[in-house]
């Protein structure tokens, strides 16, 4: 299916990666013009304000207090930081928030992920032997998916992790069909992209990526079982390494690729994924209704905008294109999932019975995956049409001269070499100008984010007072974090407890339960550690205006919960009380992530060094100019 790539010279020009990124950035700047305008402003929907607040608190914790945001005291009177499902602190794109600030960083992350979506989809389609035109078409269609506009409108930048799924599938496929070191490299990098999705708070992209990988693995495995045979089996290994021989069998290669990707992703993302799973187990969603969408609604919504994608996918399927068949099948699976829990036999019903997937809601979000899979099939359809033009000309030539030859008039001349070039170019030009360009011209304005349409709300202003809890307002959460105020009125997707004793009018945030017994003075405050000077006449309790959590510790006395409020029983005397948040499980998981990252960086760095050295060694033997071809015999 993808072992013999078709040679088309226009494809080879677009093989220059910076050139593609230049195209992607031009397209992204057009479709996401509104993301790159209206600086500092935020979207209208309250979730954008909430996530802005979280990211601002993460950034402040790291840059101002030099701590990891294990605890977020600015939200709900204190809640988990990194472990919160929607917290993207560990995501690679969070670096943009650190460098440029949260307001710009969120927007730049969107542009980065969109361009990576374009690139990943392009590579995936090219890996499946689509032409550059077909791959580019699919890339732009998927990367600018209409659903992403509504996600961004709601402030769900973490949903842009969907844009990385094509990269995951690309490396999954490359991890099956590539050979040698490239195969290993592909699997490792595929793991990195899955980890990125997880670390960037991919609450929905993560399970969807798992489903996509699972489906493609099974499909490739079945396809290989019926079609692929190893050309020359290598000599069998000895001892336990014999297992590796089995992993080399064509139908098991997809599983080996998927498992490697999964293991690498688990290692890299352990610092986020395991604490988050622990959090989700502890505080399961309380509202999980039965949601369904009739097929007419699912199909009608898709057809309204992406009818051509569907038709082009069908063109590929009816011309017996294996890649298109596999990906179109995937689109059908996700259509069935998008229909929701329409009965005990529905795929979504089965999905809901699984541990992690059980908390998923809004099956209409599977529309993103429907578009992803049907776009890949459409890229094959475009390619079929593009290849048809030089193919038809060649067949016409052969038919014409074969007839003349049979008639004894002339010997059959070979198909002119130059004609191949010309008609490949004609095919690309015709398909681009008559099909791809008009379709994109019609579609892109409909998904374009116009300036002044999305980021319409006033930006928060910084007020550098000491940290205090305030009554707050979750609908404008970003205003409070920027003013170093916590917002007690809040929301979380999970039923996280909040103390009723929290107040937004205290003269000091740390205070004795009985003012007659002790005095408390704040020495230093950071999100994860508070230093207090306590002068207690007798044993008493010091209260901190934050929620209690089992990870809170102190150097003196005992930490306990007083109606879910953080309380420390201290002995009599004058002492420096240090109350600190120490999540050992989180620290252990972060250590796993760090160790995996170092190992991956070492392996890939070594591979890069070796490749550079190889090229350097070969340089001496290279001719100065391309060598002339031998004359025809």
């Amino acid at each position: 299916m993808v072992t013999n790539m078709t040679v088309r010279w226009p494809d080879r020009i677009l093989a220059l990666m910076p050139l593609r990124f230049l195209i992607w950035i031009v397209v992204a700047a057009f479709t996401h013009e509104g993301v790159l305008s209206d600086p500092w402003r935020v979207a209208d929907w309250m979730d954008d304000h909430q996530f802005y607040s979280w990211e601002q608190s993460d950034r402040m914790t790291l840059l101002d207090y030099h701590q990891l945001p294990a605890w977020n005291p600015w939200w709900c009177g204190g809640t988990v930081g990194i472990a919160a499902p929607e917290d993207p602190f560990l995501g690679p794109d969070f670096i943009l928030r650190l460098i440029f600030g949260v307001a710009h960083g969120r927007r730049l992350a969107v542009i980065l992920l969109v361009t990576l979506g374009f690139e990943g989809m392009y590579r995936l389609c090219r890996r499946l032997d689509s032409s550059a035109i077909g791959a580019g078409f699919a890339a732009i269609i998927f990367g600018s998916c209409d659903r992403f506009v509504s996600y961004l409108h709601d402030g769900w930048v973490n949903f842009m992790g969907f844009e990385l799924i094509p990269f995951v599938l690309y490396f999954l496929v490359d991890g099956v069909y590539a050979t040698g070191e490239r195969r290993t490299r592909a699997r490792l990098i595929g793991g990195f992209f899955v980890a990125w999705i997880i670390l960037a708070a991919g609450t929905y992209p993560t399970p969807y990526a798992m489903l996509a990988v699972g489906y493609v693995t099974i499909a490739l495995s079945i396809h290989a079982f019926f079609t692929r045979r190893p050309a020359a089996p290598p000599p069998p290994r000895k001892g336990w390494r014999r297992i590796l021989d089995y992993a080399e069998s064509p139908s098991l290669l997809p599983w080996a690729s998927a498992i490697t990707i999964g293991v690498v992703a688990l290692g890299l993302s352990a610092g986020k994924m395991l604490p988050t799973l622990s959090f989700l187990r502890q505080f399961e969603r309380v509202f999980t209704p039965v949601e369904t969408h009739p097929i007419t609604e699912v199909f009608g919504t898709f057809w309204g905008r992406y009818s051509m994608v569907l038709l082009l996918g069908l063109v590929a399927v009816v011309t017996a294109d294996a890649a298109a068949g596999i990906f179109f099948g995937g689109a059908m699976l996700f259509v069935a999932l998008e229909m929701g829990d329409f009965g005990p036999s529905s795929p979504f019903h089965y999905l809901k019975s699984l541990p992690i997937f059980g908390q998923l809601r809004f099956p209409d979000r599977f529309a993103v995956m429907v578009l992803l899979f049907s776009s890949v099939a459409a890229s094959r359809g475009v390619t079929r049409l593009e290849d048809a033009i030089p193919g038809v000309v060649k067949r016409a030539w052969d038919a014409l001269f074969a007839w003349k030859h049979r008639a004894g008039k002339t010997p059959a001349p070979p198909y002119p070499f130059a004609a191949r070039w010309v008609f490949v170019a004609v095919g690309a030009l015709v398909v681009y100008s008559r099909l791809v360009r008009p379709e994109l011209d019609a579609l892109l304005p409909g998904v374009k984010i116009k300036p002044g349409s999305m980021y319409v709300q006033e930006a928060p202003r910084v007020y550098a007072g000491p940290f205090r809890q305030s009554r707050g307002n979750r609908r404008d959460g970003h205003m409070f974090t920027s003013a170093n105020l916590g917002s007690l009125y809040c929301v979380l997707g999970n039923p996280v407890p909040e103390s009723a004793l929290l107040r937004g009018d205290l003269p000091q945030e740390e205070y004795p339960e009985d003012p007659a017994k002790a005095t408390v003075k704040r020495i230093a405050w950071t999100p994860n550690e508070i230093r207090l000077e306590v002068d207690a006449k007798e044993a008493t309790t010091i209260l901190v205006n934050q929620n209690w959590a089992p990870q809170w510790r102190s150097n003196v006395g005992t930490v306990r919960s007083k109606e879910k409020l953080l309380a420390i029983d201290v002995p009599a005397g004058k002492q420096e009380l240090v109350v600190y948040y120490a999540d050992r499980f989180l620290q252990f998981c972060l250590l796993i992530s760090f160790a995996t990252f170092v190992a991956l960086a070492w392996y890939l760095g070594r591979a890069l060094y070796r490749a550079g050295k190889r090229l350097s060694d070969e340089w001496q033997d290279l001719p100065a100019w391309p060598e002339d071809p031998p004359p025809p015999a």
Binding site: R12, L16, M46, F417, A418, E458, C490, P495, A500, P632
Partner: protein
């Protein structure tokens, strides 16, 4: 290595080879002239060889190919960088709103005089008291306190924007004034301070 080998042509071992009498060979038969099609094919192949310099999908097979690849890559990167800078310029170059000073000068706080702050607070408190009364009267959400608070938050959000517009200040200033009023227990329209607490987080189990 080849250069060193060429430098050894004066060694004794090389001499006999040089002194070998040239073997007289029969003149090689002239290759037959190429046909038009063959000439075209050769021309096309030569063109293909030179065009392979632009084949970015494979590793260059000549030094010129590498140099050309490097030059084109640098040029395209330069264009890419310019484009990235161009499209992000508006976003990054725009200065943020000034920070709100923490200093208090006379009765000014958050850059607003006290009478303006009290006016802002009164406007917000009026809306809040009215919303609380409405929620009780209509028994909204069946008495679910957090949901009522969520409604109140919506009305506060709308009122805060209205106040920012009315008093020509930022939304951040409005919320800071509200926080000050709650903290200082400024009286609302009913003469009572606004509550400084909020019903604990308790998301609904029946709707979202």
């Amino acid at each position: 290595m080849s250069a060193e080998g060429e430098g050894e042509d004066t060694t004794p071992a090389a001499e006999p080879e040089e002194e070998k009498a040239p073997v007289e060979e029969a003149p090689a038969p002239k290759p037959p002239p190429l046909t038009f099609d063959q000439r075209t094919e050769l021309l096309a192949k030569r063109a293909g060889t030179w065009a392979s310099l632009l084949d970015f999908s494979s590793v260059p097979r000549s030094k010129a190919g590498w140099i050309l690849r490097a030059v084109i890559t640098v040029v395209v990167f330069a264009f890419l960088w310019r484009r990235v800078v161009g499209v992000t310029h508006t976003l990054i170059a725009t200065k943020p709103s000034p920070t709100i000073p923490t200093e208090e000068i006379e009765d000014y706080r958050f850059r607003l005089p006290e009478h303006t702050r009290r006016d802002i607070f009164r406007d917000l408190a009026t809306v809040e008291v009215a919303e609380r009364a409405r929620a009780i009267a209509a028994n909204t959400w069946g008495g679910h306190l957090w949901s009522r608070e969520d409604d109140r938050g919506h009305y506060e959000r709308v009122a805060a924007r209205g106040a920012a517009q009315k008093y020509h200040c930022s939304l951040s200033q409005v919320y800071l004034v509200l926080d000050e009023g709650i903290r200082e227990r400024w009286p609302g329209p009913d003469g009572n301070p606004l509550p400084a607490t909020t019903p604990p987080h308790s998301i609904r189990t029946t709707s979202w």
